[in-house]
């Protein structure tokens, strides 16, 4: 090894030590980057909740404001891992009224992707900035936004509304999140791995459709629109590409829209009812065509 190379190696080593050590030493004179985590206790003292420092788009726990939930179930369908469970039943008090008896979100299963928030027509389901919810017992992570004893009627958005009154984001969830060591709910062990019970059919949907179809016979465009609107789920969810059910019904009544099977929340029932109504309207009498019997929901593709 030539001497120049030998000395060169030593020189390089000393130089890199010089540079590197000056960098690390310089950090001794700066303010560290880490900050004290403002946990609940600290936050109570200072009033500086860590949640307030998060960006507004932060995807924390989900929250549902059932006051403005139209029960369209778009979020349930959008969820790739089925961590949302909604159940809609007929109100025993008034048979025409449907009520939500259940709106559970399993926050332990949720992967916080935000796909459920996007299709929501009213912004009832939102990600909050809450994230502290570790539980000793996993079932406590299920947030129940509807008390099964107190069913909630779906929200009927006013016509043409673009903004909906919503409780301050995060308040509902914060109230629902339990303390970390709260006892587990009493859950029957019998239900392990069982599929959820099928939703009860609400009367006979075909008979209801035929009732509606009678109204449509000989009706003018405006009345037909009304009848058609009634056949849809009435949640204004926007799945049919129309902003509201009314507009979809108008389009169908005026003949611009040929696809009668685009109501996603209504599903097969709505599609069939719409078919029967349109057929009856054209024929002048109640007609149940085989086509109508087969009709199911299809996306607006």
């Amino acid at each position: 090894m030539p001497v120049s190379e030998y000395v060169g190696h030593i020189k390089d080593t000393v130089k890199s030590a010089w540079e590197g050590m000056s960098v690390t030493l310089s950090y001794m004179f700066r303010r560290p980057i880490t900050v004290q985590y403002a946990g609940p206790e600290l936050a109570e003292q200072s009033g500086d909740l860590i949640q307030h420092r998060l960006p507004s788009r932060y995807r924390g726990f989900l929250e549902v404001d059932t006051e403005i939930c139209t029960a369209c179930q778009a979020c349930e369908r959008a969820c790739p891992i089925a961590c949302i469970a909604i159940q809609i039943e007929k109100d025993p008090a008034s048979p025409k009224q449907r009520v939500m008896t259940r709106f559970d979100i399993d926050e332990a299963k949720c992967m916080y992707c935000g796909l459920c928030v996007e299709p929501c027509p009213t912004g009832a389901i939102q990600h909050t900035r809450e994230f502290e919810g570790a539980q000793r017992f996993l079932p406590n992570m299920v947030l129940r936004f509807v008390d099964p004893a107190k069913p909630v009627p779906p929200y009927k958005p006013p016509k043409g509304a673009t903004a909906y009154p919503r409780v301050m984001l995060g308040e509902i969830t914060r109230a629902l999140v339990k303390k970390w060591d709260s006892p587990p709910p009493e859950l029957p062990l019998a239900g392990v791995g069982k599929a959820p019970a099928k939703r009860k059919p609400e009367g006979d949907p075909r008979a209801a459709a035929m009732e509606l179809a009678k109204k449509a016979i000989g009706a003018d465009a405006k009345k037909l629109t009304g009848v058609l609107e009634e056949a849809q789920a009435g949640t204004d969810c926007g799945a049919c590409t129309y902003p509201t059910c009314r507009e979809y019904a108008e389009a169908m009544a005026s003949g611009q829209e040929k696809r009668l099977h685009m109501c996603e929340p209504g599903g097969a029932d709505s599609a069939r009812a719409t078919h029967i109504i349109m057929d009856s309207h054209k024929a002048g009498q109640v007609v149940v065509s085989p086509e109508a019997e087969k009709a199911t929901y299809e996306g607006p593709s």
Binding site: E5, S56, H127, T241, S301
Partner: protein, 388 residues
């Protein structure tokens, strides 16, 4: 011959009883996730190291057949959780190709911005962990500190720090938040100088350079033959970057250089094209290019929609499409087959790390155990991307 020896010979081949068989992983600190290496060592020198993968196999490709097209997007985050934006983008581009939808110009720019920021974050992890695997602990927190700034920016953009789920079929989920662009500019200016400091602290450190110079050299043809992509390929002297060669999205609008390995360690230290140091330093240089791309994108970003008109229920017509995007770990390709239903018939993710792992067994003979650690780090493999 003792029975034990016979068993060893049967299992690992003749001569194995002379070797030390070392189970490196899956809980070893520097295998970057759960990867196992069966190291056949003769003292400190390895005879070979056989990678055993699959500990993190979550059957993402199967899940792709079970969930709807749009529902698969959050799963793509989990393909490569260090650089999830690219996985998002690759899948979105593939389905867009099937649907025949083109995202609006603003969405393309937002994709470029988010991806390049993510590339910075991902490369920071790569170079930081590499420094740590070589034994320098301090650069790692520095790298992660800068990554935190990027994470903050991305969090403000899409609401998550790691599993972004930002891209959508037909565009992106959100527009830029107010005040975001100035914050981003501030970070970029700061980061430029931090990179200089980084170079002085670790990239030019004599011990570090000598540990990596001339180590595990992958010549260009070998890299191509083994299917290496991205920085690993470019470090071997192959001037190939999808963003340059087949520009997609908004990339035709940007000026940037493609760093190619040329023995950055220097001849006097035994540096060669395609050694571990080149792979390291190419990533450092790529971060600089990413900074410049984000700057240009923020200046040029057009106004307008950020989401194309896409039906809520994505049902592409039958057919198949492959999208190729330049991820932080190289070319990431999504091969999506549709049979006209609302679920894909097949989703295939071709990832850089998987191919990079394939080369280790043939590179390892003659390396030392400490070199294996450096080699793994320099290939920047990420366990979820290998196993999917």
């Amino acid at each position: 011959m003792a029975l034990e020896q016979i068993v060893i010979t049967r299992k690992f081949g003749p001569g194995a009883e002379e070797e030390m068989i070392l189970n490196m992983g899956p809980q070893h600190p520097s295998t970057h996730g759960v990867i196992n290496f069966i190291v056949h060592a003769d003292g400190e020198v390895m005879k070979k190291a056989v990678p055993e993968v699959g500990y993190l196999h979550r059957s993402i490709e199967k899940i792709g057949e079970l969930v709807t097209f749009s529902g698969f997007m959050p799963y793509t985050d989990r393909v490569d959780y260090v650089a999830a934006m690219f996985a998002n983008e690759g899948y979105a581009v593939a389905v867009e190709k099937l649907l025949g939808v083109a995202p609006p110009a603003r969405a393309q720019y937002l994709r470029a911005i988010s991806c390049e920021l993510n590339r910075i974050a991902s490369h920071l992890v790569a170079v930081g962990t590499m420094a740590m695997d070589i034994g320098a602990v301090t650069p790692f927190p520095y790298a992660l500190r800068e990554r935190e700034y990027v994470n903050d920016l991305i969090e403000a953009l899409c609401g998550a720090r790691l599993t972004y789920n930002y891209h959508r079929i037909g565009g992106v989920a959100f527009d830029l938040p107010p005040d975001w662009a100035p914050n981003c500019h501030r970070f970029l200016d700061h980061f430029d100088r931090i990179l200089d400091e980084w170079d002085r602290l670790i990239s030019l450190n004599e011990i570090f350079v000598r540990r990596l110079a001339g180590l595990a050299v992958i010549p260009g043809p070998m890299a191509i033959d083994y299917g290496l992509v991205g920085p690993n390929l470019r470090a071997s002297g192959v001037d190939y970057d999808l963003r340059k060669v087949h520009p997609y999205g908004a990339y035709p609008d940007f000026e940037f250089k493609v760093p190619v390995g040329k023995g950055f360690a220097g001849k006097n230290r035994g540096g060669q094209v395609g050694d571990c140091y080149d792979r390291f330093y190419c990533r450092v240089l790529e971060m600089r290019e990413s900074v410049s791309i984000v700057r240009q994108a923020l200046h040029k970003i057009p106004e307008g929609e950020w989401m194309a008109k896409v039906p809520r229920k994505v049902k592409p017509p039958g057919g198949e499409a492959q999208s190729r995007v330049e991820s932080a770990r190289g070319e990431m390709a999504y091969y999506v087959v549709s049979d006209g239903g609302e679920k894909a018939a097949r989703v295939r993710v071709r990832t850089g790390s998987f191919m990079a792992m394939g080369i280790i067994e043939d590179l390892s003979p003659g390396l030392m155990i400490a070199d294996l650690v450096a080699l793994i780090a320099s290939l920047d493999v990420v366990a979820p991307e290998i196993d999917r």
